[in-house]
């Protein structure tokens, strides 16, 4: 591990002042960053510990619910307001990692997770994300876990978070603090597709720090579900996951929310499928068609063509099951 100076931050202004230095990185729970530092993939000179900054979950008239970036994953998933108003988010958080990791990992850190592509972790392999311009060994390598949507010849890595898939479906906003003040970024715009610069994963600017996640109220909470397909039944990253929510009036779809995990460099909001479904009938045929339309632009690699069919069926089946849940209580 590269040597670093440890700086605990007492409050946000102190954190931002410390985080402005060259070579500084913010440390939350550390469950991803410490691992990457041990592999010398991350080599910060200064670690600014932001784990003691206030992390509350509060109701807000304008935004619905505000979740502080420092809130631990377990605390967010267990919170009464989250469980009742955004059960999809609780479910997605609980689908990720293990009890031990969720107790430590923060909500902000979950958003900032880096890919679990094995070539990114292996410093004997070529990786454009680790070393821009080096090339990518995953494109022609073992790429069963890799992206089918929005990838580029430079990078086919996937975003590992479950929580962010639910946040994408729920239309969440990321509030960041920085040297030039506060700004709000829709979660669907926060993470980037790889293009030619896969080392740039988010729109965060140097020194900026995630302050909170803002969740707008929605009509799909009562009919929502996070489903994750993986190689074992627990404690594994997604091959494909789907966050889905439906609001029905009779058999007509008033609102639908769909996002996919395990398929792209970012949590993939399925806007094409949503547009195809909105205002139409909630039938298995409509679900299948919409899912197929979303996956029409998918480009498989050697080992991951199965994800196209899997994602299509997972979307259609999850939506169909949601139509079978009992009429939400008013």
């Amino acid at each position: 591990m590269h040597p670093f100076r440890y700086e605990p931050a007492a409050d946000t202004p102190a954190a931002l002042a410390l985080g402005a230095a060259a070579g500084a990185k913010y440390l939350g729970g550390g469950t991803n960053l410490v691992d990457l530092m041990r592999e010398t993939i991350e080599r910060p000179d200064i670690l600014v510990d932001v784990s003691r900054l206030a992390g509350d979950i509060t109701l807000d008239d304008h935004y619905g619910l505000i979740i502080g970036a420092g809130v631990k994953n377990t605390a967010a998933a267990t919170d009464r307001l989250v469980r009742e108003r955004f059960p999809l988010l609780s479910q997605a958080i609980l689908a990720g990692a293990s009890g031990q990791i969720r107790n430590v990992a923060s909500v902000g850190g979950n958003v900032m997770q880096r890919t679990r592509c094995l070539y990114f972790f292996d410093d004997a392999a070529r990786c454009n994300k680790r070393e821009p311009g080096a090339g990518c060994d995953a494109v022609e390598g073992f790429n069963r876990n890799h992206a089918i949507l929005g990838a580029s010849p430079a990078c086919v890595a996937t975003h590992p978070s479950d929580m962010c898939v639910a946040l994408a479906a729920l239309g969440a906003t990321v509030r960041v603090d920085g040297p030039h003040g506060e700004r709000d970024i829709p979660i669907v715009d926060f993470h980037q597709l790889p293009g030619e610069t896969p080392q740039i994963e988010t729109v965060l600017r140097p020194g900026e720090l995630i302050a909170a996640i803002l969740l707008p109220a929605n009509g799909v909470a009562a009919r929502s579900s996070y489903r994750k397909v993986r190689d074992r039944s627990s404690y594994a990253f997604a091959l494909v996951s789907v966050a889905a929510g439906l609001e029905l009036e009779g058999d007509t779809i008033v609102d639908v929310r769909l996002a996919l995990g395990g398929v792209a460099h970012k949590p993939w909001r399925a806007f094409i499928a949503e547009t195809a479904l909105k205002g139409g009938p909630a039938t298995p045929a409509a679900f299948r068609q919409a899912a197929a339309a979303e996956l029409a632009s998918a480009r498989p690699l050697r080992d991951n063509a199965f994800k196209i069919d899997l994602a299509t069926r997972l979307i259609a089946d999850t939506l169909e099951k949601l139509t079978q849940t009992a009429e939400p209580a008013q």
């Binding site: 591990m1 040597p3 670093f4 100076r5 440890y6 440390l27 550390g30 469950t31 410490v34 691992d35 530092m37 041990r38 670690l47 510990d49 784990s51 377990t74 998933a77 267990t78 469980r83 009742e84 059960p87 609780s90 479910q91 609980l94 689908a95 990692a97 293990s98 009890g99 031990q100 990791i101 107790n103 430590v104 994750k228 039944s233 627990s234 404690y235």
Partner: protein, 176 residues
């Protein structure tokens, strides 16, 4: 740096890079906590911090000063086993024993999560106040602890029995 481990104040002269796991094993000679994968995948290094289970391999020791750390040595000792330790012996909850300290610390933390109503991915009603403690729930909640000997059935038996005993003790206490 100063630490509070198993109720004792302890001091160690360590680098900021030292993990909590290496602090325990290499500097404080608390060898009960085990190093398996050293990357958060196996759970052998699980300890309790302020009552919550964490992977000590992914924790920088410097972040855990002034926290209440409990390791397997703080849960029980020969002659005064923690109920879970006794149940692991009774139900063959291990073979080689390497994952066992992590399994037991994890199960202690998990029991507290159940008592606090923390839901899991397999909880049918995510908003329910109380958790129905099925074997499926226990297996999901213990999935962060691998056992390469495959003693999972014994581990689940030991945990289930210990939880049931604790629940019946609670009922008796309330009745008295």
């Amino acid at each position: 740096m100063r630490f509070n481990i198993n109720g004792q104040p302890m001091e160690a002269d360590v680098d900021t890079r030292t993990s909590l796991l290496d602090l325990l094993r290499e500097h404080l000679e608390l060898f009960g906590t085990k190093k398996g994968c050293n990357q958060g995948a196996c759970g052998a290094c699980t300890v309790l911090v302020d009552g919550q289970r964490i992977n000590s391999c992914l924790a920088l020791a410097v972040q855990y000063q002034d926290r209440e750390i409990i390791t397997i040595e703080g849960l029980g000792a020969p002659g005064s086993l923690h109920p879970l330790q006794a149940a692991f012996v009774e139900h063959d909850g291990f073979q080689c024993g390497y994952c066992t300290p992590g399994q037991i610390c994890s199960a202690v933390g998990m029991a507290d999560e159940l008592a606090r109503g923390v839901p899991s991915y397999v909880t049918a009603d995510i908003a329910a106040e109380a958790i129905d403690v099925t074997d499926e729930e226990l297996r999901e909640r213990m999935s962060g602890n691998l056992c390469r000997c495959g003693a999972y059935n014994g581990i689940i038996d030991a945990i289930r029995e210990t939880l049931a005993q604790a629940a019946s003790a609670d009922v008796k206490r309330e009745a008295a």
